[in-house]
């Protein structure tokens, strides 16, 4: 009997523990501010990369895409006729790094790739998604 009570208490504590540290959806305005700041740090880094020579020939992304315009991140994944299959935005980022910029492609999970995507999509904020659009 004692043992059962003890186990019940342990179980209750175990179940209650996650709540005692706050629920998953409990966050404050301070948290939001912090997360946005983290995000904007990556956007800023993306902006810097977008405006620097990522390849071997001093050409940078912004030369053809001021403010990342004409990149249409909202349309990916989409069928890229020149590649002959459905690709993601990051595939096109690498295509540009390899061709007009004459550089080496980034790994798809490279923090630089994430930063470039963050900047490109941030400059397009507010535009409804339209995957597949040409």
């Amino acid at each position: 009997m004692k043992k059962e009570v003890f186990l019940t208490i342990i179980l209750l504590i175990a179940v209650a523990l996650p709540w005692s540290n706050g629920r998953a959806d409990e966050f404050t305005k301070k948290d939001l501010k912090k997360w946005h700041k983290e995000f904007m740090t990556v956007v800023k880094e993306g902006e810097r990369l977008f405006h620097s020579a990522l390849g071997k020939n001093k050409v940078s992304c912004d030369m053809c895409h001021p403010n990342a315009s004409n990149t249409h991140p909202e349309t990916y994944p989409k069928f890229q006729k020149q590649i002959g299959k459905v690709v993601a935005l990051r595939d096109m980022i690498n295509w540009c790094i390899q061709n007009p910029l004459e550089g080496e492609p980034l790994k798809l999970d490279d923090p630089k790739m994430i930063a470039l995507e963050a900047y490109i999509t941030y400059e397009r904020r507010g535009k409804p998604l339209s995957p597949g659009r040409h």
Binding site: D62, C64, W95, P100, E123, R124, K127
Partner: protein, 357 residues
């Protein structure tokens, strides 16, 4: 009687036909306005942005664009009376870039009229340009037309003094979407000069003004803009036929404001998006313009090119020579009092690639 074709004449004729076929059709024989000695043709090459990498290395893609335009100009028949270079020969105003540009341009068989762009100017404030290439403000008369060249890429003194080095100043002006940039302007001195230059020109003399930046307001964040453009327009207002030709925007763009027709030139290097495709800030892109096709990055010469301009009775007909697309032609419509695209102006005739978003 059957004419015998020898092997030799066949080969000769065949090679001739092949050579003709390999040229863009528009360049083989262009004969317009031949009945009026006042009508003439000139060519316009702009925005080559030759970029120095190191030593004798330059960005291959951009070299190729300028070389192609020069070669095609040389093939034009009848020959254009002159060629205009619309500015931004260099990318960062470097001596290496300007000299490299002069070398490529030296292959042209025509006299060249030069317009300075911001990429040629902001490293040494136009010193090399004025010493070795051309004046930046001047006018000339040609077959009854008064041409004016302006340096429209000047800016405020306070901005000029902001930078520690000329390189820093150049790099900041070179970045199109720079939030720390500064609007272009013609400046009081040139406007005063313009008034004086036009004082003795009769009001029915056709005027063609050539500047690097557009002399009207389109989109300030990218300097598709000249801050004191309205003051320049005011000086041009009394004249019956005025055309302003400009570079800088790397796209097909045209507008009509009062008596003034504005037309942009293509770049030989790369195209720029229309400001409508940057949705965070409002723009004043002219509703009159039928957009060029969206560029296909897989064809590196797509949405680049140059122009053949035919002056007929003081009005410009602009033949955009587009290397990877069908050419576009703008003609001044006397009834509408504005330039129109001869094929696509009617909204029903437009094609999906002309949609920019």
């Amino acid at each position: 009687m059957k004419k015998k074709i020898s092997r030799r004449s066949f080969v000769k004729k065949g090679l001739g036909a092949m050579a003709l076929a390999s040229l863009p059709l528009g360049l083989v024989e262009i004969s317009w306005g031949k009945n009026n000695p006042q009508n003439f043709t000139f060519a316009y090459i702009s925005d080559s942005h030759l970029t120095h990498i190191k030593g004798t290395e330059f960005v291959r893609n951009f070299d190729k664009g300028l070389k192609k335009a020069v070669m095609e100009c040389n093939f034009m028949s009848p020959r254009p009376d002159f060629v205009v270079y619309g500015g931004d020969l260099a990318q960062l105003g470097k001596r290496e870039e300007l000299e490299h540009g002069l070398e490529i341009m030296s292959a042209l068989r025509h006299p060249v009229k030069w317009v300075i762009g911001e990429h040629d100017f902001y490293l040494d404030l136009g010193r090399f340009w004025e010493d070795k290439i051309s004046k930046t403000t001047y006018s000339f008369d040609h077959k009854g037309v008064h041409f004016v060249v302006l340096n429209s890429i000047l800016t405020y003194d306070s901005w000029m003094k902001k930078w520690k080095t000329p390189q820093e100043r150049m790099a900041n002006m070179a970045r199109l979407d720079n939030p720390n940039g500064s609007p272009f302007m013609v400046g009081e001195r040139q406007i005063k000069w313009l008034k004086k230059d036009l004082a003795n020109v009769s009001k029915d003399t056709p005027i063609v003004v050539m500047s690097h930046s557009p002399l009207y307001e389109i989109f300030k964040p990218w300097n598709f803009w000249t801050d004191d453009a309205e003051k320049v327009q005011a000086v041009l207002r009394p004249f019956k036929k005025v055309t302003v030709l400009h570079g800088h925007v790397h796209q097909i763009l045209y507008n009509q404001i009062g008596n003034i027709t504005f037309e942009a030139m293509m770049s030989t290097a790369w195209p720029w998006p229309y400001p409508v495709s940057y949705i965070q800030k409002p723009n004043q892109v002219p509703k009159l313009t039928v957009f060029m096709n969206r560029a296909d990055p897989f064809h590196e010469r797509d949405a680049t090119g140059w122009s053949i301009l035919n002056l007929e009775n003081g009005r410009v007909t602009n033949h955009y020579k587009l290397w990877e697309n069908k050419d576009r032609v703008l003609r001044y419509d006397e009834k509408l009092g504005a330039p129109v695209d001869t094929l696509y102006q009617d909204p029903l005739k437009r094609i999906p690639p002309q949609e920019h978003y």
